[in-house]
């Protein structure tokens, strides 16, 4: 019988890390995610599983500790909130460049700058388009419940190791601070040294064995020809992710005239907006991207051919809306893609979203699809 508990999103991130056999956590406190390390420290997993939990002197130190640990083939993780993730971005680029698996959690708060400690989704671009320098991508997972905060820790590690690429859980202060019912996973043992050598001996620096060449972990390649080959290999990898790893949830989209697209906390708000809109006689559906990279382009293209419009609802000035527009354009559809959102730590209400939908699509609601030729 699985263990059911009432937990905060932040607490469950910590518990899930211990249970999935994470080897090391390196972090630095910042609101609204401090409970992650707080919970880990209170749990003292080093006594239970041998997992290392270390409070670094800064986010820059934490991400470089993660880089080192990931280089040895260990399951390593960090978490922070928006300003801290900015500090980590250089290290993330290095980790992606060195093709190392690790898990990074961003419990977003309102920016720019130190901003506010209230929830936000304004780090979407940073998460899905890179953040640090160079042509790299993170696998980005967007949980919308405390249960998914739990599930995506294991999934994040699985994908990170499958592709030898950093994965990110992109969540926000609301999901971090919220408590919900959660079914915890069974404990998985940490990988032994032999398992790591067997699984990742071709790349991880596990100590030079006599039967193989030394493994070098680096993102520095001075030969441009060779560096271009590296880049081409990375791009192949990202393409494969786009083909194989897209995850989304489509709710009441089959007969929908209008599709609300929202992830994380906003998708929860919009689930109710769908209910309210349908009660008013508007056929509205919700598309909830679970992977933000790879982005669910294909389903958007399909929906673009039969719907009358899209509304991207975000706690930002409108970032994901650009990716939706791109998919709709690629589908050859001319339905309008609108945005509605709040910023600075404010979460929109379900009623606000319905009002915005009626306002922005008043033409389509009255006259049907507007095709701009």
């Amino acid at each position: 019988m699985a263990e059911i508990r009432l937990m905060k999103g932040n607490e469950v991130l910590a518990e899930a890390a211990i249970r999935c056999g994470c080897d090391g956590y390196f972090g630095y406190p910042i609101t609204p995610q401090s409970e992650v390390m707080e919970t880990l420290m209170a749990r003292e997993p080093w006594n239970e599983t041998g997992m290392v939990v270390l409070q670094a002197e800064s986010e820059v130190a934490a991400i470089n500790m993660l880089y080192g640990a990931a280089g040895t083939g260990k399951k390593s993780m960090t978490s922070s909130s928006s300003p801290g993730i900015s500090l980590m971005s250089e290290g993330l680029s290095y980790i992606a460049g060195a093709e190392l698996p690790c898990l990074v959690v961003n419990v977003q708060r309102g920016g720019p700058g130190l901003g506010t400690i209230q929830p936000s989704q304004a780090d979407y671009f940073q998460a899905v388009k890179g953040g640090g320098h160079g042509d790299y991508k993170l696998i980005v997972l967007a949980p919308s419940s405390v249960q998914e905060m739990n599930d995506f820790v294991d999934l994040g590690f699985e994908l990170a190791f499958k592709y030898r690429n950093p994965a990110m859980i992109l969540t926000d202060g609301a999901l971090g601070q919220m408590m919900e019912k959660v079914e915890l996973a069974e404990f998985k043992p940490r990988w032994t040294e032999e398992e790591i050598e067997n699984k990742f001996g071709v790349w991880a620096s596990t100590g030079k064995k006599t039967n193989r060449d030394r493994n070098v972990v680096t993102s520095l390649v001075m030969d441009s020809e060779e560096m271009e080959q590296n880049n081409l290999r990375f791009q192949e990898k990202y393409k494969k992710m786009e083909e194989e790893e897209v995850r989304y949830e489509a709710i009441q989209c089959e007969d929908a005239d209008f599709i609300i697209v929202a992830f994380g906390t906003c998708s929860r708000v919009c689930l109710k907006s769908v209910e309210l809109a349908r009660a008013k006689g508007l056929k509205v559906g919700l598309l909830r991207p679970i992977t933000l990279f790879p982005f669910p382009n294909k389903i958007i293209k399909e929906l673009a051919r039969k719907s009358k419009g899209f509304l991207s609802v975000e706690m930002s000035a409108g970032q994901m809306v650009e990716d939706i527009k791109l998919a709709v354009y690629e589908a050859g559809s001319t339905v309008r893609v609108n945005y509605y959102g709040r910023m600075g730590g404010i979460i929109p209400t379900p009623e606000e979203v319905v009002d915005a939908l009626e306002d922005k699509f008043s033409w389509e609601i009255s006259y049907g699809v507007k095709r701009s030729y």
Binding site: P32, Q118, A174, E180, K181, R268, I347, T349
Partner: protein, 183 residues
């Protein structure tokens, strides 16, 4: 069944912990639960509130504009949330420190003198459990058995000896709640 409620008062009154016990009791009844606090640079004496949602089905928005029930423990919260109760919904408040009582005429209003009763019981800390008891009386959506299990789950083991006192306070709250207006 979906019950969307707000519990609001001063920091230190046990607003968040009452919500947590409610949520855990809901889990004991196999319900889906969401507990969403106002968080920020909060402190004792400042305002504190938490949205609690119990439902038989998947819970959508943690952001709620119109509540089924509001449990109000100070004047600021009454002023702020009185108008957020759905018509036909329920407002439960403690009259202690309330200068302007609720004015709505389209909702059910109940009051519980929990501050005074807690002092009479010799333990001001059980204040929130008296209020919780009153809530259970006017909105009987959870059984006392499951509330007791919820208490066991949400209190650390070292406080389990206090569960009988909490149950006693809940029962007291069930007894003393007064109806002000029923629609």
């Amino acid at each position: 069944m979906t019950e969307e409620m707000i519990i609001a008062g001063f920091g230190g009154q046990g607003v968040l912990s009452m919500g947590k016990i409610l949520a855990y009791s809901g889990i004991m009844e196999d319900k889906e639960v969401t507990w969403f606090p106002s968080y920020g640079p909060e402190m004792r004496g400042g305002t504190a509130n938490v949205t609690v949602i119990l439902s038989d089905t998947r819970i959508s928005s943690p952001i709620v504009k119109h509540f089924d029930t509001a449990i109000i423990l100070n004047q600021q919260s009454l002023d702020k949330f009185q108008d957020s109760v759905k018509p036909g919904g329920t407002l439960l408040y403690d009259p202690n420190g309330i200068i302007h009582p609720p004015e709505r005429t389209d909702i059910n209003i109940y009051k519980v003198d929990a501050t005074v009763t807690a002092v009479e019981m010799g333990n001001p800390k059980v204040f929130n459990m008296i209020v919780f008891g009153s809530y259970l009386k006017v909105r009987p959506i959870l059984t006392l058995d499951n509330v007791e299990k919820g208490l066991e789950k949400s209190l650390p083991v070292r406080y389990h000896k206090l569960i009988p006192l909490n149950i006693q306070a809940i029962k007291k709250g069930q007894e003393i709640v007064e109806s002000v207006l029923e629609v």
